[in-house]
């Protein structure tokens, strides 16, 4: 399984309130949530994001609330993977559970810039910055997480 896209880059502690502000949590419709994704940190994100694009951030991505609406909004916006130095733990669980691929890789989080064309091989964990011609070794997913992501989430996986 591979992902390929253009990078949106953010810093430390991107919290779930800026990923999807609570004023929109009166909806749980993924398509509607996606229209407000990253609104309080980057108003241009939703205008510019294309299917397959990648978010790269530094430390503690997804900190704050347990709202699964955050990874749901990112996934529904078309993002194929989030790379960060570290993730907040509830966001990490939620992303896996809904089938949004995420990779912890401090070197890639530091070495990749906004707008770079990046390819990720989920089987090997290799991240390639095609713009810069650099590669990084991220942690490949353990097999059970790969299966959850391939099944598009924990519930589908349980049903299988």
């Amino acid at each position: 399984m591979k992902a390929n896209g253009s990078v949106f880059k953010y810093g430390d502690n991107v919290d779930t309130d800026v990923i999807i502000p609570a004023r929109y949590l009166n909806s749980s419709d993924p398509a509607e949530l996606a229209t407000h994704c990253m609104e309080d940190i980057d108003k241009a994100f939703i205008k510019n994001v294309k299917k397959g694009d990648i978010i790269v951030a530094t430390r503690n991505f997804g900190c704050g609330s347990s709202r699964e609406h955050a990874p749901i909004a990112i996934k529904a916006a078309g993002v194929s993977c989030v790379i960060a130095e570290t993730f907040a733990r509830i966001f990490y669980r939620n992303a896996i559970n809904i089938g949004l691929p995420i990779i912890e890789c401090p070197e890639a989080a530091k070495g990749i810039d906004a707008g770079d064309d990046v390819e990720i091989d989920f089987d090997s964990g290799v991240i390639t910055d095609k713009t810069k011609g650099t590669t990084f070794q991220g942690q490949p997913f353990p097999p059970f997480m790969q299966k959850i992501i391939a099944a598009e989430g924990l519930i589908n996986y349980i049903n299988q």
């Binding site: 309130d17 430390r59 699964e68 669980r93 939620n94 924990l154």
Partner: protein
Amino acid sequence: MGMTMTQKILAAHAGLEQVTAGQLIEADLDLVLGNDITSPVAIKEMDKIKSQGVFDKDKIALVPDHFVPNKDIKSAEHCKCVREFAYRNEITNYFEVGEMGIEHALLPEKGLTVAGDVIIGADSHTCTYGALGAFSTGVGSTDMAAGMATGKAWFKVPSAIRFNLTGKLSPWVSGKDVILHIIGMIGVDGALYKSMEFVGDGIRNLTMDDRFTIANMAIEAGGKNGIFPVDELAIAYMKEHSTKTYTIYEADADAEYDEEYTIDLGALRPTIAFPHLPENTKTIDEVNAMKEPVKIDQVVIGSCTNGRIDDLRCAAKVLEGKHVAKGMRCIILPATQHIYMQAMDEGLLKIFIEAGAVVSTPTCGPCLGGYMGILAAGERCVSTTNRNFVGRMGHVDSEVYLASPAVAAASAITGQISCPEE
């Protein structure tokens, strides 16, 4: 090798003699919690699970508390979804408006959370119940759905940081100042994926409400859970509120900790977290030394962090016979109906209203910028809540300052960040 208190609880619930940090386990759940924001997503997921129905109708708690009484049509639809699910599955612990409260104040009060439990909740502040010696942690809606269906959840066994609390808090210093001090010290990811285990002879000087506040904000340091040893005060609380059997677990003497800190409670000062992270803390002395006072427009006293009776008593002590500053909006939210009633019986509500504050039904509303106290661009709020992220309580250009009820009440009177000492 010895186990931490958290590891012992997890081992017992996974049917294992021993667990070690990093190990993946499947644990039996004593309680699964959800609210009106997270439950509808969980219910949608549950409908996809082939084996329908819940694992135990007595071990699920559904508490619509975020946007209730319904703030708009969409919120009403969410609450309707939760209500219908609760009725359909005969959920014992569904709490309707009129009997509800903010979940993390309500569940201990109703006796649903006791020492030794493993609890997951689709709300990040589920870590609150560690105050009673339970392992409790926040999860998302899918985990909640799987938990409701199977009564189990998978966990990566956490390592721990030990906080040795000594001494006694000074007047006007509370549990909120303890946890803000700790978050300021270790940062918002200082305890990422880890347990925060509180120990030491200073704990006996902390009220239950102080402990709930401290455990509640473990997530604000990135922690998986926060947990306190079970002492006489915790046992008395459980006996007063619960008929459930509790189990006391203690960390082994040779348990390993990633880090250890000793905190002299007597040395702590009223502490305020400045925008836009809970780790941006300053003591009241540092605030007073600033060139310009921090002028504010609104004060919120409430939430799962600081809406309990001790918090309201403290605020009332400060506000009694005084009046909030001109132009100040002071919003006070007792966290449960029971606390509301206590505050009424003790004459606190009269003090608040005479001081020019408003008193609201229990709701999480303003804490997360939902309703009941949204900030406009450029406005500042001193709040006893738990997060001060960009746009948390309203406009992206508003600011939230996190503080204790004492500081919040004093600030409402002066119109700038202040301490009752002055």
